[in-house]
Symmetry: C2
Subunit: 397 residues, 2 copies
C-alpha cells in the first residue's frame, strides 16, 4: 500500500496527537510516505507510537489510509475548510523552528513541541502571507476590563500598522485582541485547540464567523476533535511559532498564556509582557514572567513593534511635558533656584545661595534674563520674572 506524501501527512495528522516528537523525527528522517508506512508496519523504534496509531486506526475503522486521507480532504472541503501541509506553497516556514526546541529540550513539559504535521484552515488569506508579519497577543480568559482594554489598544495599534494579530479565540484577552483587530480592519488569526468545524468556545460563534470574513481559523486537529485541556498546551506552541513575538497581557499565576510565552522564549522570539496592578490576581503571572531574564515589558503597541519590527519601525521614547527650564544647564537651573520672587538679590548673593562662584553667576544670570526667567533691576540685582511658574519649591515630579 503506497500513499503520496501529502496524503500521508494528512493521515498522520489524523492518527497522531500533534507535536509528537517521535513522529517528527521519523518524518525528518524518512519523509511522510515512508514514515507512515513504517508506522503502519510497526517497523519503527517507538512501540508506544505504533500502538497508539493502530489504536486510532481501529477506533476509526480505517482499512485504507489513502482513502481515509482523501475522505479527510473531502470532509474539510464540505466544511468550507482546506488542509494545508508542509508540502504546500502556503505553508509558513517559521514552524520548522519548533523542531529545534523539540530536539534541544528534554523537559517533559515541552516534549510535544514538534512542528505541526498539517493545519486545517478556514478563511481566504494564504497562511504564510497572513502570518508573515504577525504577532501573538495572549492572556487570561478571566481578564479584567483593564486587561481587555489594553489588549484591544495593542491589537488595534498593531493592526493599523499592518501586523496580523494571532490569538487563541478564547474569552477575555484573546477575544479582545481578535475584536480590536477586526475593528481596525486588520487581519486576525485564531489558532484553535479543537476542530475548525466546532470552534470552542461555542458562544464565540459570531466572533469566529467575523474572523473568517477576512482572517483565518486554524487548527492542527481534524474536524470533530474536542478541546481537551492538554491540547491547549500543545496548541500554544503553534501561536508562539507562527508569530515574530508573543505579548502576554494578563495572566494569573497558572495561566496557560505563560506556556505560550515560554515557547516564544524557547524559540528565541521576543517574549513581551504588559504589567498591571500588583494587587490584581490576573497580573500575578505577568509580573512573575517579568522577573525572569529575557522578558521585555511593553506598555504600548509601538514598544511591541520596537521588539518585532524591522529597523525603521522603532518606537519613540516616552517623554513628559517639557518645562521652560529644560533649556538650562545645571548651573542655570541651580542659579534659578536661588533667585527669589519678591526680593531682588545681587549676583553674588544668588551665587552664595546656589553654592556657585560669583563669576558663574555673573556670566549666567544675563542669559537667564534673556530667556525671560529673571528680571534685572536698575541696580543690577535679579528677581524671578513674574510669570506663572511654580516658584522655589518644584522638585522634579
Amino acid at each position: 500500500m503506497s500513499v503520496d506524501g501529502r496524503l500521508a501527512l494528512i493521515a498522520l495528522a489524523c492518527l497522531v496527537e500533534p507535536g509528537n516528537r517521535e513522529l517528527g523525527m521519523l518524518l525528518r528522517q524518512h519523509g511522510p510516505a515512508r514514515a507512515l508506512h513504517l508506522l503502519l508496519d510497526g517497523q519503527q523504534p517507538s512501540p508506544a507510537l505504533v500502538e497508539s496509531v493502530h489504536g486510532r486506526l481501529e477506533t476509526l475503522a480505517v482499512h485504507d489510509v489513502g482513502r481515509f486521507a482523501e475522505e479527510a480532504l473531502e470532509h474539510a472541503a464540505r466544511l468550507g475548510a482546506r488542509i494545508v501541509t508542509p508540502l504546500d506553497e502556503e505553508w509558513p516556514m517559521q514552524f520548522a523552528d519548533l523542531a529545534r526546541i523539540s530536539r534541544d529540550d528534554g523537559d517533559r513539559q515541552h516534549r510535544d513541541t514538534d512542528p505541526p504535521v498539517c493545519l486545517w484552515v478556514r478563511g481566504a488569506p494564504l497562511l504564510a502571507e497572513a502570518l508573515d508579519r504577525s504577532v501573538a497577543i495572549v492572556g487570561s480568559r478571566a481578564a479584567s476590563s483593564y486587561g481587555q482594554h489594553v489588549a484591544g489598544e495593542l491589537a488595534y495599534g498593531l493592526a493599523m500598522r499592518d501586523w496580523t494579530v494571532v490569538s487563541g479565540g478564547a474569552f477575555g484577552i484573546d477575544a479582545a485582541a481578535h475584536r480590536a483587530t477586526i475593528a481596525a480592519g486588520g487581519l486576525t488569526v485564531a489558532v484553535l485547540a479543537c476542530g475548525v468545524d466546532k470552534p470552542y468556545p461555542v458562544s464565540h460563534g459570531g466572533l469566529f464567523e467575523q474572523i473568517t470574513d477576512d482572517g483565518l481559523l486554524i487548527s492542527e486537529w481534524p474536524p470533530g476533535a474536542a478541546p481537551y485541556r492538554m491540547r491547549f498546551l500543545t496548541r500554544n506552541r503553534v501561536i508562539a511559532a507562527a508569530t515574530r513575538g508573543t505579548v502576554m497581557v494578563e495572566a494569573g499565576a497558572r495561566s496557560g498564556a505563560r506556556n505560550t510565552l515560554t515557547h516564544a522564549r524557547l524559540l528565541h522570539r521576543p517574549a513581551m509582557v504588559v504589567p498591571g496592578p500588583v494587587t490584581s490576581a490576573v497580573s500575578v503571572g505577568c509580573h512573575a514572567e517579568l522577573r525572569r531574564p529575557g522578558t521585555m515589558l511593553v506598555s504600548r503597541f509601538d514598544e511591541v513593534i520596537e521588539e518585532i519590527g524591522a529597523v525603521g519601525e522603532l518606537s519613540a521614547l516616552p517623554q513628559g511635558a517639557e518645562r521652560p527650564e529644560d533649556v538650562l544647564d545645571a548651573t542655570g537651573q541651580r542659579l534659578l533656584d536661588a533667585v527669589q520672587v519678591r526680593k531682588a538679590l545681587s549676583a553674588e548673593e544668588i551665587a552664595a545661595g546656589a553654592g556657585l562662584s560669583g563669576r558663574e553667576a555673573r556670566r549666567t544670570l544675563p542669559l537667564l534674563e534673556m530667556y525671560g526667567f529673571v528680571v534685572a533691576t536698575e541696580s543690577g540685582s535679579y528677581r524671578l520674572a513674574p510669570r506663572p511658574r511654580t516658584a522655589e519649591v518644584t522638585p522634579q515630579d
Copy 2:
C-alpha cells in the same frame, strides 16, 4: 588660623553645596582641616569652588570659620538636632561608595554625587545602626491611591521584618511609606533637601514629628536652607547610598524618583520597581525603568527582601491554587482529558482519543481510578468520576 577636622567638616558643609566633586577630591587628598585651609587661602585648583566659598563667607559675614562651625553646632543643639560627620562613630560607612561613582562618571547630570560632608540629624537612633538594614521606598508626589496602597503594604511588610524604611518625606509615595512604617512600629528615616529645622513640605509637620519619635530626620543642608529644586536631585543620591536597595513605586515620566533609582544602579545596589496599570501616567516612569536592563520588578515585600536580604531571607515563589490533577503526569492528564462523563469508554478508545498507546492507557487508567479521577465499570470500561470538577474543557487559566 587652624581648625580641628570635625569643625572643618562642619564649616565646609555650610560653605559648599553638597555633593561637590572638587571638594570631595580635596578632602580625600588633604583631609578636612587642610582642605578648608587651602580653600580659604585660594590655594587649590578649582577657582570656581574657591570663589563660591568666599562668596558664601561674605554673604554670611563669617570672619572666624572655627567660631562659625562652633556656632553651627550650638545652633543645631538648640534645634534639638546634632551634626554627624564622617569622623563620628555613628557615621554610616556605605556613603563612601558615592566617591566611587563620582570618580567613574563624567556625566554632567551625575556630577554632584560626592559623599555628604556632614549630616544634620534629628531623632534618637544612631545613624549607622538605623541605616544598617535599610531600604528606600520612593515615588511620585502625585501618587494614585493604588500607589499609596502598595507603598504602604511594602513598607509595612519590610518594617515588620525589621527593615528601616528610608524615603524623602514628600507627599504621595514617600508619606505612605513613612506612615506605614510608623504604623508597623518600625523605624523610618526621612532624608530632606532642606534644613531639619523647617522640614518641607510644611503640611507634613505632624508626620515629621512622628518620624522623629522613633526614627530620624536627616539633611546635608544646614538649618535654614530652602528646598531648592536642584537640591532634591542632590539629596536623592543620599537616599540611594544610605540603603541596601531602592524600590520605586509610582513615577511619572519625569519623576525625580527615577534619579534616585539611577543612583542605586550606579552604586550597584538593587534597583527595584513596582509596576502599575499601563494606562496610568504615574506608572509611565516605572515601566520605562523596567524596560532597562538591571531593573528588577517587585510586587511584594518578600520579593524586595529577596533582592536586599541575606541568604535565608528568601521569598517563596508565587503559586496558584493546586488542582487535584496536579498529581498526574502528562500521560495521566491526557488520558483523563479523553475520559467522558456519560459514556464509559474502553482503555483502547480512551487511548485513541488521547493519542496514546493502549498499553499506556491500560497501565495508567487503574492509577486514575485509584486516585478517584475515573470509575471503572464491570466490563472494564472507564467514565469520569462523579465529583465537582469542570469536565472536558478546562484549559489552564
